[in-house]
Every structure is written in C-alpha cells, then in structure tokens.
Amino acid sequence: MSLPSLRQPFVEGSIQTRVGSVPRISSTLARADRLGSIKARWGIGRMRYTVEPGLYALGDPDKQAPVLVTANYKMSFDRLREALPGRHAWILVLDTNGINVWCAAGKGVFGTEELIRRGEFSKLENIVDHRKLILPQLSGPGVAAHQVKKLSGFKVIYGPIKAMDLPEFLDAGLKATPEMRNKTFTVKERTVLVPVELVSVLKWALIILPAFFFLGGLGGKAGYWAGALNYGLFAIAALLSAVAAGAVLTPILLPWLPGRAFSVKGLVAGLITAIILTVFRAGNFSDWPGRAEMLAWFLMIPAITAYLAMNFTGASTYTSLSGVKKEMKWAVPLEIAAGAAGLFIWLGSRFVI
C-alpha cells in the first residue's frame, strides 16, 4: 500500500497536514477529464480508468472538514469532486480495482475491510478531529456501518446516491431527502449505458456480418454476387436492425415496452423490427426461398433482440438476481431454439430449396 502520487495529471500541488503532505485536487474538471468520461462510456480503456487510492484534499480542508469516501474508478472520483465547487473536504479513495462504487460494493471490494484499512493507512484519525465518514449510499451492499464503528471508531454516514446531491446533504446537516435515497433509472441514465453495450455487440458483428454476406452469395441459382448483394446485404440489414432494436431502442424505451421480463420487452421490439423489414422485403416473396428467408428472420431477429434485452438486466438498476434467474430459465432455451431454427431455415433457403 502506498500514498497517492502527486504526479497524477489532475493533482494540483499538495497541502501539509500533521501526518505529511496530501495531494490537492480541485472541483474543476479539465478537458482531459471530460474526454476520459466519454471514452469510458464507449468502453475505451474503461478497465484502466483509475486514480490512485488514498487520501486527497479537495480545496483547503481543515481538521473539521468532512471526509467523503469514493471508489478509484476515475469517473466516480470526478463525479464526486465536480459536485463540490467551492467546498473543502477530504476525499478518501478506496482501492476498488477501478470499479464503480455500486458494483464494487456488490462484490465486497468497496467493503468494510478496505475502508478500515485505507482509513488507518491514511492516518485519518490524526488528520481530522471528528470521527465521521460520509459514504455513498450505494456502497451499502459492501460496507457494514456497525462493524466499521466497532473496529475503527469511525461512524459511517450514508450520503445521497448521487454526488450532485452532496452540497444539499451537507448543508442540511448530513440529512438526505427521500428522493436522494431512491435509485432512479431515467431515460438519460439508460441512454448513457447504450454505447458500452453497443460496442461489445458490434465486436461480434464484425465476424458475423461478413459470414452472412459470404454465405448469401454461395447458395441459390442467381450467381455469387447477385446472391450476396440480395440475401447477404439483407442479412446485414436485418442483423444491424436487430442490434439497434435490442441494444439501443429497448434500453431507451424500457418502461414503455410491454412485459416485466426484459426478454419479453426485447421480443416485442424484435417482432416490430421483423414486421417493418417484411414490408420492405415484400417484393422478394414470389418464390419459396424468398418466403423461407423472411420466416428465418422472423425467428432470428426476435431471438437476438430478446437476448440483448436480457443482457441489459446487468446494467439496469432494479433487477434482482432471483428474477433474472427465473426469466432466464425460459428465455435462454427459447432464444437458442428460435435463433438456431432461424439460422437453419435461412441456410435451407439458400442451399436446399
């Protein structure tokens, strides 16, 4: 365990305390910090987007200043400091391996043990005269407040869920309103999660799309390029539509899609997508291969959208593990069956009929 380095780009000098120098940070984000957030949202370097764990000084904190605890995911750290312009506080950054507060707490990495250890190592008891630590409410799954008190003497006070509510929470004498304690999942909160889901799906698409294009040309009687440009290109359009419906539209439209299970929501989005594509493809239904092709997509598109929607449970803020397991028990077999049947029929439409 070492002290946080002064050489990190966001550190602006240091302040002297009874126990040595502590890196100073400001609540103003630089362009590099904003760019870093955007990149992390797109999955670029997200697993290495960290700050060094330990104690930091926001502004000019004294012995009475509040101690705010966060994770060493840089986005968590930046959301915290930018919420506190003109304030003076100690920021204790726990080592969560670069994972955000809620996920790290769910694993116990943002936990009782790390909190106590990091506080002791940072000599908090010599830096502040009070014995209070303000933690984000969503660290609750990992931190047992009563144990922290017993083992370290520090009292854990759960602050608001969102860092942006901290000024109001601090000014109200460390009191949170019911709204601050309730985790929402607004359209904006859902939308920012779309890129990272999309990026992980499109990695697969880079392999699958060319395969369909290639196979589209091989079968049939019309010759390679005629087949590839007709069936292959339509396959690419159908797959990209399925990804858009499952990984973009379903998360954004989540509350308005019917059903409680995410797979059902995705299924509905997929069926609507398949119907729209059918309208555009109607000119191709004069022969049996054309009709079989559409049937194949009517199976594959909903299978893909249901699967992608189901995967969004991990990003959502309200799904329980018991519920996800119950949903998957029927959804996964159906998704596999529909996907496999659709692929089988599509290959049949190209090579058999």
Binding site: G43, G45, R46, M47, R48, N97, G98, I99, N100, W102, C103, A105, G106, K107, V109, Q137, L138, G140, P141, G142, V143, A144, A145, H146, Y158, I161, P178, R181, N182, K183, F185, T186, V196, E197, S200, K203, L254, P255, R260, A261, F262, M310, N311, F312, T313, G314, A315, S316, T317, Y318, T319, S320, L321, S322, G323, V324, K325, K326, E327, M328
Partner: protein, 115 residues
Amino acid sequence: MGNLIYLKDVVTLELDQEKCVGCGMCLVVCPHEVLSMNNGHAGIKNRDLCMECGACARNCPTEAVTVQAGVGCAAAVINAALGRNASSCCCVLEPDDDAGSGSIKSGVFNPPKCC
C-alpha cells in the same frame, strides 16, 4: 415516472421482526424504498421493488434482515453456468483489455462488463 418494477413474487428478502431493534439502517441504505418503519420496527412495504442488492442485510446489526444477495445480471448468470471465472457478479472479460495480456490483477476478480 415512479419506480420501475421487475418480476413479481421472486424476491428472497426476509425480515424477522423479533430481532429488529428499529435502528432504521435498512431504510437508509435501501435504494428502492422497499422497507418502512412502523411502531419502532422495520417492515417490508414494497417487496417487489427489492433488487436483492443486500445493503439492508449487510447493515443490519442484529441480522434481522436476510436476503440472498446478488447482482441481477444475465451475463453473470451465463458466465457462472459456463464455469467461467466470473461467477459472483456481472463480470465479463472484455477481450480488448484482457485477452492474453494477463492484466487480471492478482486474480482477484474480472472487470464487470455490464455494471
């Protein structure tokens, strides 16, 4: 818009009112207003809003609240079923970052994809 509700009647949350001392910590940490306080004891008000995050149970000094805590993440369930090294949460290896590079630090855990 109010709280979004997931599947009904699936949640494993239990509250033993005999053990409850009424400290209210479970109400503080719950992110979905699942619990309420009546006559000095906590009670379950909105069971179907519970996401089994486990914050209430973790912060209950008398073990009055229990729940099979976990993260409701399909990718994690699939990984666990496939026996991949990512069973407890939504942890999917991102090929970009980890494949072959051996960057999984000291084998503590894999980074989550979906949280």
